[in-house]
Every structure is written in structure tokens, then in C-alpha cells.
Amino acid sequence: MALLAISILISHTAFAAERLDFSREILPILSDKCFVCHGPDAKEKELRLDSFEAATGDRGGYRAIDPDKPEASEVLVRIHDKEDPMPPVDAEKQLTDVERLMLEKWVKQGGNYAKHWAFIPPVKATSQKSVDGYVSAALEKKNSNLAPEADRATLARRAGFILTGLPPEPEQLEHFLADKSNGAYEKFVDAMLDSPRYGEHQARYWLDAVRYGDTHGLHLDNRRGIYPYRDWVIQALNDNLPLDDFITWQLAGDLLPNPTLAQQVATGFVRMNPTTSEGGALPQEFQAKNNFDRTETLGTVFLGLTMSCARCHTHKYDPIVHNEYYSLLAFFNSTAEKPLDGNKYDYGPALKAPKDHTAWNAWEAAHQEALELLKPLGDEAKPWRERLINLSKQESQPKANELATRLTDLEADFTTTLVARELEKPRPTKLLLRGEYNQPTGDALEPNVPAVMGALPPEAPKNRLGLAQWLTSRAHPLVSRVLINRVWQRVFGDGLVRTPEDFGVQGEQPTHPELLDWLAVELQESGWDLKHMLRLMVTSQTFKQESAWRKDIEDPENRLFSRGPSFRLDAEVLRDLALWASELLDPHMGGEGVKPYQPSGLWSALAHPASNTKKYERDQTELLYRRSLYVYWKRTSPHPMMTLFDAPNRESSCVRRSRSSTSLQSLALFNETQRLEMGRKLAERLLREGSNDTERLDLLFTLLASRNPTATERNACDSLINAMRERFQSDAESAQALVSVGEAPRNEALDLTDLATWTQVATTVLASDVALLLY
């Protein structure tokens, strides 16, 4: 078996006539098996195999790789040496036979090196011009092609979930199905992109990546004033703020000339690291730890690289030198907040910002009016506020007076949000030996970027703004790839690079390298237009394929994208779907994190007695029914309905959630208070809108699956309906108990037996894969 596998591989790669691709075929082997000792972090005088120059250098009469006499290369001798092999016998990782053959072939071809693919800026290949072009071309190599298109209703449901996190409204669906014109689907997609639900849904992915939480995260894990940042993210995505600005404002909004309120609120990103104020904590220690966290999060979110290795020593695999880590860290070392949070809500610098979406709009409107009013008067050097107040003092300017009063009133209702500010005098940054906060060494380092990813643009200031300019420059090899890969991942279920957190030498190779680069460049050329990119993806034939597993092609992980996307929906989506179907969903946007039902004692079992998040005080009324991205995020104990369904704790960056199936999920789907309440309200809707069981089932399936039930599904549900009806007819007490779960008032006009029966049916279908999956 093993021999067979080797010979197949060999025939495909090592012994095939074409030259090996160093970056994709050889570097991963060297990195994984050799770089631990012979990589960028090799000891002095030790052989290095991470560059051609080093590998071919004279080592006293012999060379590790000898391009003139490849057969004499020491590397070849040693990898086959039985007595004194490389890697050594006790090395944790050994070469496989295939890898030995690959290395041998590579050395014999001259041992040429090339830069790791991800460090070379992407260019658009000319072979194809669309998503489908690249995907089809890869399929054709396997003598296959794209799967047939899914039916239109399924497509509508799919696009709704991917773009807005909710299925289409029944009327939208009906309208779309009736619209037989060309471009009907594109119109439908545009409507989804224009929905305010779009920004809420897309924001979730970003909030995972930046580890957004409503608490400080460490020790007392007290409340933190930061939710205006979350609301800004939603608004920015709904406004389709170009992603380069999206990045710049978050990293350095405060350093822009005359920054707007929104630009400053966006810098909450810089303040998102978990913090502490534990009694014994030492400021110097946490100044270092907070910076580690930010530097490494920057690595994950934008660079798709793990920086943490370089905290203690030069990176073992990727060409990032120890002091480059600290040069990068230096960008964050001069922000003005104290290293310890004082357990304070307004752990400054902080400013006041509107407390929800409505308040933002009202303030923004007044602000715009003020700017209009001031425009003809010139004098723009002075802050607009000062000019408005001056103007309002003139009796001839009642409008200015009214505006100033309105703004003051609106601002009285503002809330605290943490922001970034730069110290007047930067803190010196030094390399820390082994990453120990109390071992600074060498000269102070200037803020700078790792050389392997280019250089700061010539005019860029050496601060966070310069960092943002570097990240968003066209020459940056990674940022556009990393971002678009995650967009692809959320649309298709898996990225083109399946290790979205690692584009380094140890990461996975892209399944479709040219497509990844094509998309990355398209993102830049489109003006960093996220909606454009999403539109391009969801209108592709690749996206529209049926998602059933195919018998005619071996592609279990869908690495060829030979079928449409299918996966279990995320925690938030599962809750939102049920809130929406049951018409409980409160559309209110933004505001302080909400606290829906939660079993008692979860927080108090963990919390410090002095913590102000010790007691979970459940919300009342419509706050119980806000969209799930507004659920309060206590980092040391997030809501169980989130974590049970794989939401991260937001203590560290997460760019890919797991998708587990557990028995605890089953219990939650059937027994959690809100699930039961949503089941009941959905039942009320079905009873109200459907006049018989058939109509009710049709509506139930239309809401959750965008289609009517099949005969089998109908039978399965009918038997439950019959069993439950019989049972509740003879046991009104049970029926009463079941329909009394949750705060939402019961529709007393409905028959008790019917309601209890349909509550069971709705809860069951909501828990089934009919509702749980994207397909």
C-alpha cells in the first residue's frame, strides 16, 4: 500500500519531466523537516538551508548543495546516510521516502531557490478572467466540471444566509421566483447587499478576528466601554467603506488629519487586547504582554502569519528576524493608555460616541447640517465645532443656535468608547531577550516592518498611520490575499488557503493559487470594494452549484469546489434564524450588549467577588430578541449558546471557527428557554397564517428551507403532529406548561392543544438539519 502510494506520487511529481516548483513542493519539506536547526534561526556557523547562497556555500571542501556537481551535494549524502542521517535519528520529524526523492530530484536539478509564494506580490494571471474560469480549469484537469446549478429557491436561501445571515423574506422569495427575467438573481443579490442586515452579519467575522469583547478579559474581567466600535464596524460595512480605509481608520484613525468621530471610534481596534489590573501585576510586564498580543493579532488578521515565534527568537520557519518582531511591535508601544486597566469601564484614552445606530444617524445628520451651514463662511482651519458655537452666538443665526443645541442634546446621551492615542513622546522599544519583559537589550528600535514583506512606503510616517499605509499599499504581498481568502471562506465554507491564519512557509498551499491572486488583485483594483467582491463570488456558477456530494468525483473536502457550499450555520445565525422565523427579531441596530436568557449561576461560579460581571442580569422585553451579534460578550464566560456552537471566546484572534457536532448542541436545541420560546412563537405564526396542517407545514418549510416539504418530510411531521395532538388533548397541564416558557406573551386566541402541538413541531424542525445547514 505504502509502496503503491509512493510510486503514484513519484510518477506524478518527483520523476516527472517538468521542473519542481521550489516554493510549492520543496520549501514545505525543508521548512517542516530541516529548518528547526537549519532555518532562519540556525545557530551561528550552523548550516542554513533557507537560501541558495547559504546552502551552496563552501563548508571546507564540500557544499551542502553543489550546483556544479549535484551528486556530490552533502545534503544528498546525509539524507540517505544510514549511519549519520539527516534529520538525526532522534529528531522529532523524519523525512518520508517520497520527500527524500523529491529533495534528491530538486538538488539534481540544481537546487534552485525561490521566494515563498506568499511573499511575492500577487499579479493577475491571464489564463482566466473569472472565478468560474479558474475553478473549471482545475476541474477539467480531473476530467470533470462544475455541478449543475441548484434550484432557484435553494440559491436564494443560500445567498441570503451568506450575505445577510438570514434567509429571504417569504415575499422576497416569491418575487424572486416569479421574476424570470435575465439578471433576476443579480437583482436579488443586490437587494441582499443593500439590506442593513448585511453589515451586521459581515461584522461578525471581523469581530471574531479582532477578538471583540465587552469585558477586559483578564482577572476581574470587568465591563469595558467599547461597543460603539462594534457599531462602527457594522455601519462601515453597510456603507461599503473601502477596505483600505477600513483598515487605516482602525489602525490609525486618530493620526489622520482632523479625524472625524467615526475615525477615532474605529481605533478601538488598537485597544481590543485583553487587559488586566490584577493586584500583583507589574506595569512593565503588561506593557510587554499587551504589545505582544497586538503585534501577533496584526500578524493573524492582516498578514496571515504567526508572529509569536519571533517574540522569543528568530522565526524557525518564516524569514522574520527576532528584532523585526520588536520593530513591528514598536508601532504599538507608544499608545497612551496605561498598561493596567484599573478595572475601569473608561480605561482611557476614551471618548464619547453615539450609543446606537439611531443615535449615530441623528448626530451624523446634525453634523452634516452644521458643515453645510459653515461651508460658505470659510475659516476652515478652526475646528467646525468652535465655528458653529461662534456662529450660534450671533442673533441672526437661529439655525446655528438650533444645531448647536441639538448637537449638545444628542451628545449628552453619548457613551464611552476606548480609543487609541499616541504619546507625545514615544516609548523606546527594545528587543526583549527570550520575550522576557524584564530583559530589554540592545539599542532602541525604530518602528519598522519585516523586510520580507517589503518596506514602509517612502513617505510613510513611522507610526501606526505609516503601518496602515504599508498594509494597504498595492505592493503588499499578503494583505489583499489574506483578506480575500477569508471572504472566500465565509462564502464557500473553506478558504482557498485552508489555513487562513497562516500563509507562511508552514501553512497550506492554496488550492487555486492563480484564483487567489486574481481575486486579491481584483480586490485592490476595485478600490477595495467588499460588496463588489462578494457579488462576484455569489453570482459565480461555482457558488450556484448544487451542494450535494457527487458520485462522479472524489472530492470529500471540496478542495476542487466541485459542489456548492454546505455547512452547519454559525451559532449566531442559528439563533437569528429562529428569532426571524418566529417574528420575534428586534431589528434595533447597535447599542450595549444584550443579555438574553442564560442558566443562572454561570457567571457567579467563575467570577471574582469584586468583579462587576459577577452577576448575570437578564434583560427584559425586546432586548431579549436582538440579533445575536449584540449578545453581551464576557470573555471569560461567553453565552453558552454561542460557545456550544463553536463561537470563540474572543480572548485571542479567531479567523476560522470549528464546526463541531455534539450531543450538548442537541440538548440545547431542544431545551434552551429561548429555543422553546421561539418554537412557540413560530407555532403561533403558523397557526395564524395557515388554516390547516398542510398549509402550516408549507409555511414552516418555506421559512426555514425556502421550499415546501417533501412527502417524506410531511409524513414525518404529520406523525409528530398526530402524536402530540393526542397527547396534549388529554393533558392540558403539560400543554400549558410548554407554552408558558419565555417572556413573550402567548396569543390567547389560539387553541392550547394546537399551540402546544405546533410548538413541538416547530422546535423539532428548527433543530433539524433542514434549518441547521447551509445547502
Binding site: 493586584g279 500583583g280 509569536s308 520557519y317 449561576g601 471566546n649 409524513n715 406548561a737
Partner: protein
């Protein structure tokens, strides 16, 4: 489930590939277990093909004393300190050791001898001194492997507890329990594989964090399952009022039919895996109450554990639950007991704390032993660091407090392949530094190649726990961000001196 379904087989192959690709030796049986159902693994047993080497222990029960129990007042007998009551701790003892922000400002660091009487208990070694605060534990001294020379680098709770439970002071890594779950899977179809309990304490002074039993970057089904004494024993376990078990069966029958229809259409093996999980949930609804129902326990059980064990949520009840879980094949059990952070009123607090845990600890050991389970069950007792030799705040003979101390603290283990009745390592006359046999301070600076005999870094402890369960801590890895992460980072040495 139809194992001959070609799509399912495909998926299986894929999962195997991931396993072998991701974890160096393909230990991660858990991912397989979830997919296949545990029945297929049952034959493999704890030392089966899933482990790196034959396991000494089938399971671990970790009694975690959160806050840092005082080794001075419980385990580490230092008579010479009595003579130096109130004198400033000699400079040479501290030797540049950093001090937390809480005592860094104190003018003096007065030597603070314990007020408690210690009695030497015979064991199979040089004997072990046990404080009068632990009268029950003293009776099992012959079963304990007491390590006086445990140490860490972290000096504050959050980093220290995160360090000992996840191998890193900064949040984001999987917990010890999650690693074990990933490595070992579960041998019970009806109960979760990794169970965490929080026992009551009168002094719940320090916080716990979800990350201590969280899965970090491992697949999230490896996170610990909280078994609670309040409300549902397992979150959302019980049907709502008005829904009987028969009703739920009817619901599940419908759900299974719907899911099978879904599978017929999409052929996604995940759908089948999910059906299995729904069925397991249904079984858990009887297996967990059966587990929690102590009515079948004899009077002698409650004599052993104490009447306290009848009150859900007490440490004693948690220990009894741990034994019952162990009997039912749960391999990975952790009890967290808070309140050991005695900065000011140590005697009052520790007396209460010890009363909480002492009898339960001893009872658990005895109970496992009498059932023939101790040999295959590793029991671990300890906190995240020790406490200082000097007093924090006002010092009297009757009352004192102690700050955090990372340089040495006492941890004990029992059963599951550790030598019974041994005393390992020692500290200097001040219980401040780990010392050699002559009392000279050792300054262990471990790295991956260097271990100082007589010492046990927390990475060494974790490496040893994994080792006893059949796992090589260097080989149980998970690739994340391009690095093959492991619990012990690049550190850790198995403590062979402690093993049978």
C-alpha cells in the same frame, strides 16, 4: 449508520488524513471517535493503538486548588522558621526574586512561620510531614507521591493559572483537559469525555476562566463540559415542563427522519454524525441523572466522604461524582475549588478551605483503592503556585497572610502509575527556594534539553500527566498558524523518578 456508504468512507479517509497530517502520531483519536461513535474504539482501550506507549492510567482526576494553597501551612514543614518569627527574610534567600505589586512596597518581609502543627507520616520513603489542617489526607500518606519542588514563573493568578492549565501565560491555547480529550477521545457513549466541576468554597476569592477548560484552537468539541450542582447538571439537560421522555422520543424520531431525508439529498456524512449526537443526547438524559443520583450509595460511602457529600456542589460531593464518573468510563475529570488566595487572613481562610477538601480528597483515594481503581486512575492535587515565607500585612502568631510564590510549591499525585508513598524534592529552610539534599538552593533554569533533578516545573507536571495516560507530550501536537503546538510548548520533561 451505514459504514459502507461510499461518501462516508471518503469522509473517513479524509479524517484519517487530517489526523495523520495534523497530529504527529495520529493519536488524536477523538476526532475519529466523534465521527465513528465510540463503539469502534472501545476495543482499543486506553493503551490501545491510539496511544504513543502503553498507558499506566486510564483516566485522570485533577483536584485543582485555585488561588495558590500555602505549602507552608499544609505540606512543607520548616521548623527553623519558628525561631525567626518576624525577622526580615535574609536577602540571600530572596536573591533578586521579583515580588508582586502587592508586597513590593512593604518595608520589611518578615518571616512568617506556620501556626499549625505538623506530624510526620510514615510512607514508603523518608516519610512526609502533614499539617494538622489535613487530618484525613494524612491517613492516605502511603498512597501519595508528594512533590515539594514544583515551580512556575508566573507570579499572578490569571497568568499563573492560565500557564499551568494551558502551557502559556497568555490566553489562546487549549487546556490540559482539551488536549487529553483530543488525544484520548471518550470511552463512554452516554457521558461527555471531559467533565469539569466547580466545588463550593466560602472564599471564592479568585476568578476562574472558561479558557481553563476551553479548547483554544483545537476543535471546540474538546472543551470541558461543566457538570453543575445548580439547575441542570449538564447545561440544557432536562426537557422543559410539559415534555415527557416519550414526547422527546417522538420529536427525535421526526428529526431523524428529516435528517435522513436531508442526507439522502446531500450525502453529507456530517448529517449522519449529527444524528448520532442527537441519540447520545437522548441517552445522556438518563445517564446523567443516574450518575447524579446518590441514593444507591451505601452508608459507608457517606461515612467515607462525610455527610457533606450529600450536598450537591460541595467538594466532597464532587469527589464522589468524580468516582462515579470514573466508574462509568469518563477519563478526564477536573474539580476546581476556589478560595486559596490567602493574602490577609490565612488561618481563617485555609482552615475553612481545608475543611472543604480534606475528607473528600482522602475519601476519593480510599474509595478508588477499595474498588481496585486507584492503580488505573491518576489523581492530582495542586494549585497554580505556592505562598510566600514572609508575611503580607500584619504578622501575629495567630494571624497572618502570604503573597504569591512561584519558586516552589507542593503538588501531590496518587495512583495511575506514580510511586505510592514517596516524598520528592525539597526546599530550603524558608520554603522559599527549591534546594538540594543539603538545603542549598537550586536555581532550576529548565529548557528543552536540561532538567534539574529534584525539581518539577509545571511543564514537567503536565508532561508527566500526559505520559501516564499513554501520550508523549512532544508528539501530541496540533498544527495551528504553521506551528505544531503542544501543551508543553517546547519544554517539559517526564518525571521518571516519580513513576512506578
Amino acid at each position: 449508520m451505514n459504514l459502507h456508504d461510499p461518501h462516508f468512507e471518503n469522509r473517513l479517509m479524509m479524517t484519517r488524513r487530517q489526523l495523520f497530517g495534523r497530529s504527529a502520531l495520529g493519536v488524536g483519536t477523538a476526532a475519529m471517535a466523534n465521527l465513528l461513535g465510540n463503539d469502534l474504539l472501545a476495543s482499543s482501550g486506553p493503551a490501545g493503538p491510539g496511544t504513543h506507549h502503553p498507558a499506566k492510567a486510564k483516566r485522570v482526576i485533577y483536584l485543582f486548588m485555585s488561588g495558590g494553597p500555602s505549602h507552608h501551612d499544609l505540606w512543607d514543614y520548616k521548623p527553623k522558621m519558628q525561631e525567626m518569627f518576624g525577622q526580615d527574610l535574609p536577602e540571600y534567600v530572596r536573591d533578586g526574586q521579583r515580588i508582586t505589586g502587592m508586597t513590593a512596597g512593604q518595608k520589611t518581609l518578615p518571616v512568617c512561620p506556620t501556626k499549625y502543627k505538623f506530624t510526620k507520616q510514615e510512607n514508603n520513603d523518608r516519610g512526609v510531614y502533614v499539617s494538622e489542617l489535613l487530618p484525613h489526607t494524612a491517613t492516605v500518606a502511603k498512597d501519595l507521591c508528594v512533590v515539594h519542588s514544583t515551580f512556575t514563573e508566573a507570579i499572578n493568578h490569571d497568568p499563573a493559572i492560565t500557564y499551568i492549565q494551558t502551557g502559556s501565560q497568555i490566553p489562546g491555547r487549549p487546556s490540559l483537559g482539551a488536549w487529553l480529550s483530543y488525544g484520548l477521545g471518550s470511552t463512554n457513549d452516554n457521558l461527555p469525555g471531559y467533565v469539569v466541576m466547580h466545588a463550593h468554597s466560602s472564599f471564592a476569592e479568585q476568578s476562574l476562566f472558561g479558557r481553563l477548560w476551553g479548547s483554544g484552537f483545537l476543535p471546540s468539541d474538546h472543551q470541558g463540559v461543566l457538570m453543575r450542582s445548580q439547575g441542570d447538571a449538564v447545561l440544557y439537560l432536562n426537557n422543559p415542563k410539559g415534555v415527557t421522555r416519550k414526547d422527546r422520543r417522538a420529536q427525535l424520531d421526526t428529526l431523524v427522519a428529516l435528517n435522513q431525508e436531508q442526507h439522502k439529498r446531500f450525502a453529507d456524512p456530517d448529517i449522519l454524525a449529527r444524528i448520532k449526537q442527537h441519540e447520545m443526547a437522548y441517552r445522556m438524559q438518563t445517564s446523567v441523572p443516574e450518575l447524579m443520583d446518590l441514593s444507591g450509595e451505601s452508608d459507608s460511602t457517606f461515612e467515607l466522604y462525610g455527610e457533606e457529600a450529600r450536598n450537591p456542589g460541595t467538594f466532597a460531593a464532587s469527589c464522589l461524582n468524580a468516582r462515579r464518573l470514573a466508574e462509568r468510563g469518563v477519563r478526564n475529570i477536573q474539580i476546581f475549588h476556589r478560595g486559596w488566595d490567602a493574602h490577609g487572613a490565612l488561618p481563617k481562610e485555609h482552615e475553612s478551605q481545608c475543611k472543604d477538601v480534606d475528607q473528600g480528597c482522602a475519601a476519593l483515594i480510599k474509595d478508588l483503592k477499595q474498588r481496585g481503581m486507584l492503580d488505573e486512575t491518576l489523581v492530582v492535587w495542586g494549585g497554580e503556585f505556592g505562598r510566600t515565607a514572609y508575611c503580607q500585612g500584619g504578622l501575629t502568631r495567630a494571624n497572618y497572610g502570604r503573597d504569591h510564590h512561584p519558586r516552589c510549591f507542593t503538588v501531590w499525585m496518587a495512583g495511575g502509575g506514580v510511586k505510592p508513598g514517596i516524598t520528592y524534592g525539597q526546599t530550603d529552610d524558608f520554603g522559599y527556594n527549591i534546594a538540594d539534599a543539603d538545603g542549598n538552593p537550586l536555581r532550576p533554569q529548565p529548557n528543552k534539553d536540561r532538567w534539574t533533578p529534584g525539581t518539577m516545573h509545571i511543564h514537567d507536571l503536565n508532561a508527566t500527566i500526559l505520559h501516564l495516560l499513554g501520550i508523549d507530550h512532544r508528539k501530541l501536537t496540533y498544527r495551528y498558524q504553521g506551528r505544531d503546538f503542544r501543551l508543553t510548548d517546547v519544554h517539559g520533561h517526564v518525571m521518571y523518578d516519580l513513576l512506578v
